[in-house]
Amino acid sequence: MSADRFHTIVTTVENKPGVLARVAGLFSRRGFNIESLAVAPTDDDKFSRITFTVDVESAPLEQVVKQLNKLINVVEIRELAPSDAVSRELMLITVSADAGHRKELMEIIEDWRAFVLADNSDQIMLSFSARTARLDEFEECLRPFGIAEIQRTGRVALPSLD
C-alpha cells in the first residue's frame, strides 16, 4: 500500500443539516472510497470543515473534487497531496497492563511519547497523535499486550509551510 495512494481533501461546507449526508451520498453513488473522514466546526459558526482521505486508486482525484464542487453547500475545496501537507491523526487506546508486562509497556509509551490518560491495575488508556502511518506502527507495537479498545479520529491536515 503506497502512501501516495491517499490524498487529503479539506472542504469548507455550509453548516446546515444534511450536508454530511450529501457528501457521503456523493461518495457512495460515484464509487469513491473514503479512507477516513473527520468533521469539525470552524472559527465561523456558519461553516464546518470536512476533511477526508480518499484512495485515488478508487477514482480519479480530479473527478472527486469536481463532483464535490457541484454540491451547492460545499464552499471551498483544498486538495493536499501527501508531499505538500502536514497531517495528523489522534488515537485513543486501552491496553492490558498486568504486572508482568507493565514495565515493558511503560518503556514503549515513553519511547513513542504517548500520553497516559488513565491507569488502573489491569489496563492503561493512552492518547497518541501522529501521522497515520505512525499510528498504525504504534498499534502494532501494542498489539502483543492485548488491545481492549481503540478509537481513531481520521486524519486532518494543513498545507506545509515552505
Binding site: V13, E14, P17, G18, A21, R22, G25, R29, P60, E62, Q63, K66, Q67, N69, K70, L71, I72, N73, V74, V75, E76
Partner: protein, 588 residues
C-alpha cells in the same frame, strides 16, 4: 403586495412563485400541502390538476423543454413526493430546469414516522441538482428565489423545496412572516458560482486545432439547446464547413435538412454519423457528455480523434474521455469565442484541406442512408412509414414528444427536425411513459403550437391517464400510438441477443381496446391498420382541436431498429439494415 406586510407562509409561497414569473403549476393536493392550495385559488397562476404525480413531473419537464422556462410541479408529502422521484431523476439526467414543491409533515413531527411522512430531501438528494428543507416561514421567498436560480443557471437541473405544513398553515403561529420580494442580493449561496465565460487561451487553442484538422466532426449534445446556442452553432458549422452530428438530446439543434448534418450518432445512429466520428481526427464536442449510448465500447471509440470538449459543467470534462482541450463555459459564448478566434487566425482560407474527408463522408451518406422495407400488401404497417407520414403531414415547427423504445428511435431517425425545441424525449433515464405528460406540458407552455406525442403501447399503458387531464384542462395534444403489441425494444434485444427466446414482452393486441379507452378519457380516437389510411387519419386528427386525439397505428412487431451497435461492441461493429449489410464489405 408591499414589503413588510404580514402574511402566512402559504401565501408567501404562492406570491414567490408569481414573483418568479411562474404561469403554470402542474400539481396534486394532499394533507401536508393543503394550506398552499388555498391561496392558489386567488392566484394568477394556472394550476393543472394531474391524475398521477409522475404526470406532474413530466409535464413540468415538457413545459421546460418547449419553453426554456423552468417547469413547476407541486405535490403533497409521502406518496406524493415518492411518486415524483422518477421525473426528478429524468430531469436530473437530461439537465431540465424544474422546481418541485413538496409538502412535508409539520416541522416538529419530522422524524416521528408521522402520517405520510417520508424523508423527501434524503430520498431525492441523489436525483436533484439541489434540494431544500425550509424550516422557517420567513425563509420562503429567499429559498424559492434560490431554487429558481439554481435550477436555471450553470448546468440546469431539478431543484426540490420541501415545506413543512406548520409554516404554511395560517392557523399556526409558525406560519406568520413579513413579506419581502426576494432578489439576488438576498441569496445565501456561498458555494454556488457557475462560470459561463470560456478561457480565452483555451478557445484560441481550440480554434487552432479546428484549423489544422483534416477529418473533424462537430459532436453536438443537448447543452447546445440549454445554452440557446443553435444560431451560433450554425454560424460556426457553416463558417468552417465541418459536418455535424446531433445526439438524441440535440435533435433539432442543427437542421436535419442542412447539407452538413449527418444525423444522430450512437447505438441507433446513422451510419455516416457513427462512422465519421469513428474515423475522425478531431471531435469538437459541444454540450455533449460522451454517453455510453453514443460511444459504444469506450476503448474502441474514435481511436484517432483528438478531443475539444466544451461544457458548462467542468465535471463532464475528462470524465469519460480525456480532452486535448477542455473548456468550461456556456456553449453559446464559447462558440462565439471560437468563431472570433478563427477569424483572428486568418479565417477559413488557412484551414487544412478537407476535400478527401468531405467526399468520404458524402460517399457514406449515399451508400448507407436510413432505410426500411415497405410492407407487402396484407402485412401490418411499418412504424417507419407511419413516422414518415406524420412528418410529411405536419408543419416543421410541430413539437414532438416521444416515449421510450423502438418508436422513440424511429421518431428520432425519421422525423426531420429543422428547429430547436421541437423534439422532447427522455434520453438519459429512458423513462417509459414520458411522452403523454411531456406533450401536455409542452402544449400548456406553447398553446399555439401543434404538439404530437409518439408513443408505444407499453409506454401508453404507463401514463395514459394524463389524457384525462388533457381533456378536462382543454390541452388538445395529439397522440400517435404505435401499437406493435410488444415491448418492442426489449423484444428486439431478445431476438438479437437471446436467440429469439421471447420472455415477458408480449402485451396483447386488442386488450386494452385503445379506442374505447381513449374515448372514455374524453379524446377523439382513430384506429389505422392499412397504409392508405395513415395519411387521411393524420389529416383528420389535425383537424380536431377541441379535445385530445389518439390515433392508434397497428404496426408490425417484427420490425427492428437499424442501424444498431450491439451493446458492448465498438462503434466500428455497427450493424446496418439487413438490405445494406452486403455493402459493408471493404468499409470496416
Amino acid at each position: 403586495m408591499s414589503d413588510n406586510q404580514q402574511i402566512s407562509g402559504g401565501e408567501a409561497l404562492v406570491k414567490s412563485l408569481e414573483h418568479e414569473g411562474v404561469d403554470v403549476i402542474f400539481g396534486y393536493p394532499g394533507g401536508a400541502i393543503l394550506p398552499v392550495y388555498d391561496p392558489i385559488i386567488d392566484s394568477s397562476i394556472r394550476h393543472i390538476l394531474v391524475r398521477h404525480e409522475q404526470g406532474a413531473g413530466h409535464m413540468a419537464e415538457g413545459y421546460a423543454h418547449a419553453t426554456g422556462e423552468p417547469g413547476v410541479a407541486m405535490v403533497t408529502s409521502g406518496p406524493g413526493a415518492t411518486n415524483i422521484v422518477t421525473p426528478l431523476a429524468d430531469a436530473f439526467l437530461d439537465s431540465v430546469p424544474m422546481v418541485c414543491i413538496t409538502g412535508q409533515v409539520p416541522y416538529a413531527a419530522i422524524g416521528t414516522d408521522a402520517f405520510q411522512e417520508c424523508d423527501t430531501t434524503g430520498i431525492t438528494m441523489a436525483v436533484t441538482k439541489h434540494n431544500f428543507l425550509v424550516t422557517e416561514a420567513q425563509d420562503i421567498p429567499r429559498i424559492i428565489h434560490e431554487a429558481f436560480h439554481i435550477a436555471t443557471t450553470g448546468r440546469p437541473g431539478p431543484v426540490l423545496v420541501d415545506i413543512p405544513k406548520d409554516i404554511v398553515d395560517p392557523t399556526n403561529a409558525r406560519s406568520a412572516m413579513n413579506w419581502y420580494t426576494a432578489t439576488d442580493a438576498d441569496m445565501e449561496l456561498p458555494g454556488y458560482h457557475p462560470v459561463a465565460e470560456g478561457d480565452r487561451e483555451l478557445i484560441r487553442q481550440a480554434a487552432e486545432m479546428i484549423r489544422d484538422a483534416e477529418r473533424p466532426v462537430l459532436y453536438v449534445g443537448g447543452g447546445i439547446l440549454k445554452a440557446r446556442a443553435a444560431d451560433a452553432l450554425r454560424e460556426l458549422a457553416e463558417m468552417v464547413q465541418i459536418p455535424v452530428v446531433t445526439t438524441l438530446m440535440a435533435r433539432g439543434a442543427f437542421p436535419d435538412s442542412h447539407e452538413l448534418n449527418l444525423g444522430m450518432p450512437g447505438m441507433h445512429g446513422n451510419y455516416s454519423a457513427v462512422t465519421s466520428m469513428q474515423k475522425s481526427d478531431l471531435l469538437i464536442s459541444l454540450g455533449a457528455r460522451f454517453d455510453d449510448r453514443v460511444t459504444g465500447k469506450l476503448d474502441g471509440f474514435a481511436p484517432d480523434a483528438k478531443i475539444i470538449h466544451v461544457d458548462i459543467d467542468p465535471a463532464e470534462l475528462d470524465k469519460v474521455r480525456r480532452a486535448n482541450v477542455g473548456i468550461q463555459g456556456d456553449c453559446r459564448l464559447v462558440i462565439e469565442g471560437i468563431i472570433t478566434a478563427m477569424r483572428e487566425l486568418g479565417g477559413t482560407e488557412v484551414q487544412a484541406d478537407r476535400s478527401v474527408w468531405r467526399s468520404t463522408v458524402s460517399g457514406w451518406q449515399e451508400k448507407f442512408p436510413l432505410t426500411y422495407e415497405q410492407s407487402a400488401p396484407g402485412e401490418k404497417l411499418k412504424p417507419q412509414y407511419v413516422i414518415e407520414q406524420l412528418r410529411d403531414g405536419n408543419p416543421s415547427d410541430t413539437i414532438v414528444a416521444s416515449g421510450v423504445g423502438q418508436h422513440q428511435m424511429y421518431t428520432s431517425q425519421w422525423w426531420e427536425f429543422d428547429h430547436p425545441y421541437t423534439w422532447i424525449n427522455s434520453g438519459g433515464l429512458g423513462t417509459m411513459g414520458f411522452s403523454i405528460p411531456a406533450a401536455i406540458g409542452a402544449k400548456a407552455g406553447m398553446p399555439d403550437r401543434r404538439v404530437w406525442a409518439v408513443d408505444g403501447d407499453g409506454c401508453f399503458q404507463m401514463t395514459a391517464q394524463e389524457l384525462v387531464t388533457a381533456s378536462v384542462e382543454n390541452i388538445p395534444i395529439k397522440v400517435a400510438l404505435l401499437n406493435n403489441s410488444y415491448l418492442g425494444m426489449v423484444r428486439q434485444w431478445q431476438e438479437m441477443f437471446y436467440e429469439e427466446r421471447y420472455s415477458e414482452v408480449y402485451l396483447q393486441e386488442r386488450v386494452p381496446d385503445y379506442i374505447k379507452w381513449a374515448e372514455a378519457m374524453g379524446c377523439a380516437a382513430i384506429r389505422v391498420e392499412a397504409p392508405e389510411e395513415v395519411s387521411p387519419a393524420i389529416e383528420k386528427a389535425n383537424e380536431i382541436n377541441d379535445r385530445p386525439v389518439v390515433v392508434e397505428f397497428v404496426t408490425d412487431a417484427r420490425e427492428n431498429v437499424f442501424p444498431m451497435v450491439p451493446s458492448g461492441a465498438t462503434n466500428s461493429e455497427l450493424v446496418v439494415d439487413p438490405t445494406q449489410q452486403h455493402l459493408l464489405e471493404g468499409e470496416q
